[in-house]
């Protein structure tokens, strides 16, 4: 990494409300948003209630957009406001880029449109729906809403999309392709996805859903949206913004079938540490005080997150405090890495890590797995994610002044 990339704005929508403060308060209290899914009671589901996009953002066509796209647009717009770029201070559209983390947020529209083609016939379908069913549509609609003209890219990588998108956004900023880049994503669970994952044996009921627990047996999905604004650190300081954090490095590695997920994730962590230039290898690993992991209740993945930390950090892993926001929010897929980043920044700033909700029998001994909020030593945060197709991603971030 040749020049530092600052995070100057964040926004998050979860079942606990809008904003990082509402999320931090709920996680700190150990709350869990997962409940039985109304359409499929065998699986757990965390859903945002009372969401009206026009309460947050007014853009042309908002009512037509699918819910996940509405959530992404709202998150992206609020993050820009948080970064100080709204209204009269809005950034020149030519200088604003967008990276969207989205694998599934178009899919419900696609299913509905195709069903209409077959059931009512082509001539009676709404022609505006089809383009909204493309995998790139949520990003296209968000780019249009923000008037982001520098670039608009969408990455599809399931639960690893968010961290990879942050890495790609940071790369674009360092390359000078935009003055600022919004990295955004949203996920709205829907019936076909819940049913398919249940049949694949991936799901857990609301009652039995837990994360990083020896009794964990599967995933519950959660609705969420999040966005972060990236810009060069020097430029942020130059316009008088105090950065919320600095994105130090990001790396993605793949675990071919037969290879261990923990090994691939460990390699991603090592690659990120190596490019973060936090000093010598021991100094770099010792600088990490928090690991905000993407563990989601899948026993294999939960184990892989912990094993990767142990293998990549060695003895330095011992004092690292683990945070696992999906224990409270469920598996949010595309925006999950972004939500992890928001949670980690809040924890670093407050010097306090949230507990892992519902943790009864930890996979590793406490204090690494707090069941109550714990003090954090000053340092950096390491974020990890694993996608359903075995892509493993790691990201390092720290507060602006460190």
């Amino acid at each position: 990494m040749t020049s530092a990339v600052a995070i100057t704005g964040v926004s998050v929508f979860t079942p606990f409300g809008v904003g990082a403060e509402a999320l931090a308060a709920a996680l700190g209290a150990g709350r869990v948003a997962v409940e039985p899914a109304p359409e499929l009671s065998e699986v757990g589901l965390a859903r945002i209630t009372d969401f009206d996009p026009l309460r947050h953002v007014s853009v042309r066509g908002m009512r037509v957009y699918p819910r996940a796209t509405q959530l992404e647009i709202c998150a992206a717009a609020l993050a820009l406001t948080d970064a100080g770029w709204s209204g009269e201070a809005a950034l020149d559209p030519m200088e604003l880029g967008l990276v969207t983390a989205s694998s599934y947020s178009h899919l419900q529209t696609l299913v509905e449109y195709d069903r209409g083609l077959v059931s009512v016939g082509m001539q009676r379908t709404n022609p505006t729906l089809m383009p909204l069913g493309l995998p790139s549509a949520p990003g296209a609609a968000t780019g249009l809403a923000l008037s982001a003209k520098a670039f608009s890219i969408t990455l599809n990588d399931g639960g690893a999309s968010g961290l990879a998108a942050l890495g790609l956004g940071a790369h674009a900023i360092r390359d000078g392709r935009a003055r600022a880049c919004v990295v955004a994503g949203a996920f709205t669970p829907f019936a076909e996805l819940l049913e398919s994952s249940l049949r694949a044996g991936l799901s857990a009921s609301a009652e039995r859903f837990r994360v990083l627990d020896r009794e964990a047996e599967g995933v519950a999905f959660g609705e969420a949206a999040a966005a972060l604004v990236l810009e060069p650190l020097e430029a942020a300081l130059g316009r008088g913004r105090s950065p919320l954090g600095v994105l130090r490095a990001q790396a993605t590695r793949f675990a071919p079938p037969g290879a261990s997920l923990a090994s691939a994730l460990g390699r991603a962590v090592s690659a990120a540490l190596s490019s973060a230039r936090l000093g010598s290898a021991p100094a770099a690993t010792a600088a990490i005080s928090l690991a905000c992991v993407g563990a989601n209740g899948d026993p294999r993945e939960d184990a892989a997150h912990l094993d990767a930390l142990s293998s990549a950090l060695g003895a330095a892993a011992e004092p690292v405090v683990i945070a696992a926001p999906k224990a409270s929010l469920g598996e949010m897929l595309d925006p999950s890495g972004l939500v992890q980043a928001v949670v980690a920044l809040g924890a670093l700033r407050a010097r306090r890590a949230p507990p892992i909700a519902r943790l009864a029998t930890a996979r590793a001994p406490s204090p690494r797995h707090p069941t109550a909020p714990v003090e954090l030593a000053p340092g950096a945060a390491l974020l990890t994610a694993i996608s359903p197709s075995r892509s493993c991603s790691a990201l390092l971030l720290s507060l602006g002044g460190e």
């Binding site: 083609l117 383009p131 549509a137 609609a141 003209k149 608009s152 793949f254 079938p257 359903p388």
Partner: protein, 406 residues
Amino acid sequence: MQRRVVITGCGVVTAAGNELESFWSTLMQGAACIRPLAAFAHAEMGQLSGAEVTLPPEDRLPPAIDADPLRARCLELGLAASRRAWAAAGLTSAAADAEKTGVCFGTTMGEERQVGDLSERRKAQPDAGVDASFFARANNHRLAAQVAASFGCGGPVLMTTTACSSGNAAVAHAFDAIRSGDADVMLAGGADVLTRLIYCGFQRMGVLSASICRPFDKSRDGVSFGEGAGAVVLESLEHARARDARVLAELAGYGMSNDAHHITAPGPHGEGFVRAVHQALAQAGLSLDQVSYVSAHGTGTPFNDKGESEAMLTLFGARAKQVPVSSIKSIIGHTNGAASAIETVACVLAIQHRAVPPTAGWRDPDPEFELDYVPGQGRPHPVDVCLNLAAGFGGHNVCLVLRRFS
């Protein structure tokens, strides 16, 4: 000092051929491969036409990867093109450093056929459910992951979608991975299939050609679809030299822009193309005067071709008529997310063969734009620097700059 990135292998599966020789030969002849469609029909649209790929048996998807190849056609095509590119580069799994070898692919629709299949089953049986594999197939990243798994790659594996510029976007991100040192070798490409939804959706939007598309022609009336995949092996120059690989071309830079104008219509006057080209050439350290060929997006729709032609006039000014601009979409159809990946391969071949492929079907000039669209058949031309332009629904423009390696 950023690393130089070179192309050492190419592969395609298209209606114009599944091997580079037959593909290039068909392109140069300007022989349209758009024919009555065999894969499926649609009662409301009558006989459909498109450019379908015929794969040899050895390219069929093994049940171990997917037990239902019909619903995994995109993966089947992507793997077939990747295998060809990998072999052409002379790479073996053992030769590549897994940690430093990655994949980046792009698609517009992915495995949309499984959604169509679900709709059909629900029509027959309203409470028909989805199966366990729906979730996995719905994740487009599975394509990049399976390609990576096939060659033992352990480096960065990414999947991108910017609609019909996805192939170029994938090559661009792979370029970044090598240039930054995150990888030494990246297999990059795009794949897409013909689906009922694509035909019906575009018909309802009024952008499907009534016959065969005629990019840049005065009477152009829309797109003709095709399916296929294209893939290239990118390497750092040091890595290619260390293994004595044959360098086919250099990927010198890329540019991206977003129209942010309309969810489907391109921005006015090709302004987004212009910005992407300027950015790409700046990264490549090249000037417009050095550009000798433009592989156009050239879909055959009135708006795209107008904007792209306006962009050429803005960019090249008095020299515009001297720079050949052609689109191969009237030969192999518009292959959506695969299109610009396949066109990247065509650009490499243009450099290699010192020739430019034609815009098949172009007959009558649009009086507003008198450019050299390479009518009829391909012709010899010294291609040293070429631009590969692509645009996607939503306004995603990506331009690659390829140059003869020296």
